[in-house]
């Protein structure tokens, strides 16, 4: 049993799967598309229903995963081809040039200070800017710089070279090329996660049109102490701190009209959490949550909602809502329905719990791996009831949100489950 396993996606599900396998002595190649592992969980401020700091509980796992003797973490890379079958997959991985030697860079950050070009930061949901040479976030693993080749002056215009000048370790290499790596593995775990849906096309929410309408992910970054506002909640229109926040649920989810008929399964809880956090940050904040149905149905979840009502005076209103704006104050005006009567209420800031959707590359990945997508665009398990995580291709398994809506604990469980299945495949292929 010498074959290795490939894990695609370095979010919490992929990390868990990799750790489980590595601990059992199996070699794991973990391919992550972005410059750092950690995934969406690393972007969140707290986790429900315990309000633990998200990165604080994730960072040790990220570090373990990276430094484990049995893991090979390949960041800034994508799977571009798969051949063979269970027990004998040949996987082609495109390792994008990061123009920084991973073995030399210590992540000291001197280059950051000298880099002149500023780019909108995806990690901070566009709320702030980063440099063209960057590390996505403080706890990034591996903690090495990456040069964004589309915005680097040296790479686009051949001028600058500041980072190379200041780097004492001589880690910068503008000549670096994309590489194609090949791996032989016995099984593959897909844990590619989700994209956050952009609510701009649903103009009834006014996102993009009204400055004080935010998405939940933007809010998570804003309320995070390491985020762009250092944990202060600020209105986009005037930078003032809001006193009244409205949270709108099911923005884009449970909505066949916009193409996402499923429940995203997390927004009832994360909005409750976000309303609690607002109150913890500022005692005078009043939060209101507009929900279609309260789907808080895991262990301790409903109690969490009850606690928000009781201890954090969060107001819950059972109605979908749309947003208008008071043009004088830029205060969002939430229009809702109580018993068939139209009501409207002014808020200082509105947070949209946008749905989470299959990653836009899913179709391409499915083609590469020979997998199927379900009616929602997620990767399809071979049997929804008795074979979740198994796919139509034996030896390829799914974990986390790429297979369908799941919260963090579920994704972790699915990671472990996929790891167990991957071992099973290795054992069978290797003849035990």
């Amino acid at each position: 049993m010498e074959k290795a396993v490939m894990v695609i996606g370095g979010g919490v599900a992929g990390i868990q799967a990799a750790l489980d396998l590595a601990d059992k002595g199996i070699i794991v190649h973990l391919v992550e598309k972005t410059p750092s592992i950690g995934g969406r969980m690393a972007q969140l401020d707290k986790t429900f229903p315990t309000n633990d700091c998200s990165i604080c509980i994730l960072a040790p796992k990220m570090a373990d995963c990276f430094s484990h003797p049995n893991t090979n973490v390949i960041t800034y890379a994508e799977v571009i081809g798969v051949e063979g079958s269970v027990g004998d997959f040949k996987v082609k991985v495109l390792k994008k040039a990061r123009f920084v030697d991973e073995s030399k860079c210590t992540g000291c950050g001197e280059c950051l200070e000298k880099c002149p070009s500023k780019v909108v930061s995806d990690w901070e949901m566009g709320l702030t800017k980063r440099k063209a040479i960057y590390v996505p976030f403080m706890q990034a693993v591996p903690r090495v710089m990456t040069i964004d080749k589309d915005n680097c002056l040296m790479l686009t215009k051949g001028k600058c070279g500041n980072c190379m000048k200041v780097c004492k370790r001589e880690a910068i290499n503008y000549e670096m090329k994309d590489q194609i790596l090949e791996f032989e593995v016995g099984s593959i775990i897909v844990a590619t996660g989700f994209d956050v849906w952009d609510p701009t096309p649903s103009s009834e929410y006014g996102y993009g049109r009204y400055p004080n309408v935010f998405t939940a992910m933007e809010y998570e970054r804003m309320i995070n102490a390491a985020g762009p506002t250092h944990g202060h909640i600020q209105r986009r229109s005037d930078g003032e701190r809001p006193k009244k926040i409205g949270f709108i649920q099911c923005v884009g989810s449970r909505n066949p009209q916009v193409g996402h008929p499923y429940c995203c399964s997390v927004c009832c809880m994360h909005s409750t959490k976000e309303a609690m956090l607002a109150k913890e940050h500022y005692d005078d904040i009043e939060s209101t949550i507009f929900y279609k149905d309260m789907r808080a149905c895991s262990k301790g979840f409903y109690e969490y909602v009850e606690r928000a009502k009781r201890d954090y005076s969060v107001r819950y209103i059972n109605s979908d809502a749309t947003v208008q704006e008071n043009p004088d104050t830029h205060n969002p005006l939430v229009v809702y329905d109580v018993g068939g009567r139209q009501q409207s209420e002014e808020f200082d800031l509105v947070v949209l719990a946008t749905t989470l959707v299959p990653k836009k590359e899913t179709a391409e990945l499915a083609k590469v791996l020979g997998l199927k997508q379900d009616e929602f665009g997620f990767l399809e398990s071979s049997d929804r009831i008795l074979g979740p995580g198994r796919t139509v291709v034996s030896g390829i398994y799914l974990a986390g949100y790429c297979a369908g809506p799941a919260d963090i604990p579920e994704s972790v469980a699915q990671g472990s489950s996929a790891a167990a299945k991957a071992i099973e495949a290795l054992v069978q292929a290797g003849g035990g």
């Binding site: 103009s203 066949p256 009209q257 279609k292 979908d320 229009v335 139209q342």
Partner: protein, 531 residues
């Protein structure tokens, strides 16, 4: 009638203060006059709405007499002046419908003119006798479907996806009516049906409050067809005679029913002047819609709706098309269909399909979005072997421009465009009208705050209900248009033009300067840029 001589049936509306007493005087003075008239006393000749006349004709009257005080003698100062104006427009309407204006007569008869009353009655009876019986056939009452109300509503629920409603209330939040009418919400009507409260539904006033603008449909996460549901309920209500008084007293529906059930030779082509070229047979049929009838009905308002088909044909001529325009075209039935009279709509449909088939057209062009919507979405089932393409005039113009067949001259102007509900949300046509307007160099289009599929409604549809809410919606829309700084508001639908102008012409709660903006129909605005 065979064997017996025809005895006219005459309805005489007599003013309480003069003519009614005049009739009385004729009676007590033992003057002889034909007994063919049924006298209805009204408080003033100004009380006689155009609709009364049409309804009387529909119900079998052969002639209608309206008698009031001499000008200057009105008990209410100017009621008879109003009556005179109204009757002028009704006469024109009857002429255009092909019934003929001779079937009605307006006379001033004072209380002391018993003789004049008797003489008028004699003369009018003879006149009607000569004209012969009212050719309007008696409309048989629709036979009740043998299936029960519950079954029909169950089908309706099924067809409109009403069971999918999750009561999230999103429809309420975008409903323009719910904003001002706090008792109304689309979802509550559907809820009543899905909960089984069938009996009350057909008498529920809310089903007539809805303006069927489909804002709710377009926003509903579960794609419930609220407007379709409302239309279905209206059909049920109308089969039980639970139709409220529609706007204009129901005159519009009356006109359309005459077209549906009657067999008259209309005179609807008055607008075809020497400078427009039309054909009797050809590939392209231009469906004009009811513009000429609206012009008669709103004779005292400067709407010039007949200018719309005129402009459309001029544009087509310029683009090398000589369209077929038929005097035998009838109303598309849109308004009847949306006020619960499906049977009449189907009759109209058959007539129209025959006319179009006879023309040999492969393509039918509409300048009225309601006609387009009805043909495209409601005629489908009865289309049979009729096979033609249906386009809105703006689509045709957009194509002609793209193909280089039509050129528009430079026209420096700043416009804003009102997406009508039928053209936009129902038919999904947003870009072509804008393209067609912008095809003339220098034309700039500025958008209102609520635009395209979020566009606010003109407040009334299918002439069903016109109330306080309608007016507030119109005012709100006009304010939005004014705010854009555009010199002219271009409307995509005849009705938007009629309704928005109505708000400007009447008293509103906001100062005039906030809503005062020139309004023009889309086709007319495009034709302005013809070389």
């Amino acid at each position: 009638m065979s064997g017996k001589e025809f005895e006219p049936n005459i309805v005489a509306f007599c003013c309480n203060w003069c003519s009614y007493a005049g009739a009385d005087l004729a009676g007590v003075s033992r003057m002889q006059y034909p007994p063919n008239a049924r006298i209805i006393r009204v408080m003033c000749s100004g009380r006689v709405e155009p609709y009364f006349i049409l309804r009387a004709l529909e119900m079998g009257a052969d002639g209608i007499l309206i008698a009031g005080c001499h000008i200057g003698d009105c008990h209410y100062i100017s009621g008879n002046v109003e009556a005179e104006k109204r009757m002028e427009s009704v006469k024109e309407l009857l002429d255009r419908l092909g019934i003929g204006k001779d079937r009605m007569r307006l006379e001033w008869i004072s209380a002391s003119e018993g003789q004049k009353f008797a003489a008028t009655m004699k003369e009018f009876t003879e006149q009607i006798r000569k004209l012969g019986p009212n050719p309007m056939p008696k409309v048989p009452k629709a036979t009740k479907d043998p299936i029960t109300l519950k079954q029909r509503i169950d089908t309706l629920i099924e067809d409109t996806g009403a069971f999918d409603c999750v009561e999230c209330g999103k429809c309420t939040t975008v409903c323009p009516v719910a904003k001002y009418n706090t008792e109304f919400a689309p979802r509550t009507i559907v809820l009543k049906a899905t909960e089984g409260q069938m009996q009350t539904l057909s008498t529920d006033k809310d089903i007539w409050t809805c303006i069927t603008c489909e804002q709710c449909n377009s926003m509903c996460p579960y794609k419930v067809d609220y407007s379709g549901f409302i239309r279905g309920l209206r059909t049920e209500a109308s089969s039980l005679d639970n139709v409220p008084v529609c706007s204009q007293g129901g005159l519009m529906q009356g006109v359309m029913r005459v077209m549906a059930h009657g067999d008259f030779k209309q005179n609807r082509l008055g607008w075809v002047t020497d400078d427009v070229k039309i054909a009797e047979k050809g590939d392209v049929f231009f469906f004009t819609g009811c513009a000429v009838y609206f012009d008669s009905i709103f004779k005292d308002r400067e709407l010039d709706l007949s200018g719309i088909p005129q402009a459309a044909v001029k544009i087509m001529n310029k683009g090398g098309i000589i369209p077929v325009v038929s005097n035998d075209e009838v109303c598309c039935g849109h308004d009847l269909n949306w006020t619960g009279d499906e049977t009449a709509m189907q009759k109209l449909m058959k007539k129209n399909l025959e006319v179009i088939k006879a023309s040999g057209a492969k393509k039918v062009v509409f300048s009225c979005p309601e006609c387009l919507r009805t043909f495209d979405l409601d005629y489908q089932e009865l289309m049979g072997d009729a096979d033609f393409e249906m386009v809105h005039i703006s689509q045709l113009i957009d194509d002609l421009i793209k193909e280089g067949k039509l050129k528009l001259k430079k026209n420096a102007r700043k416009l804003t465009f009102q997406d009508s509900c039928r053209l936009g949300r129902h038919m999904d046509i947003y870009d072509q009208p804008r393209n067609a307007l912008k095809a003339s160099e220098g034309t700039e289009i500025v958008e209102m705050e609520n635009t395209r599929d979020k566009a606010l409604c003109c407040g009334v549809s299918a002439w069903a209900t016109c109330d306080e809410t309608s007016r507030r919606l119109q005012v709100e829309r006009l304010k939005e248009a004014k705010k854009t700084g555009a010199e002219c508001l271009v409307t995509g639908c005849y009705k938007c033009l009629i309704h928005l102008k109505c708000a400007q012409e009447n008293k509103t709660l906001v100062p005039k300067e906030q809503i005062d903006i020139k309004i023009k129909d889309l086709t007319v605005a495009i034709a302005d840029s013809l070389e």
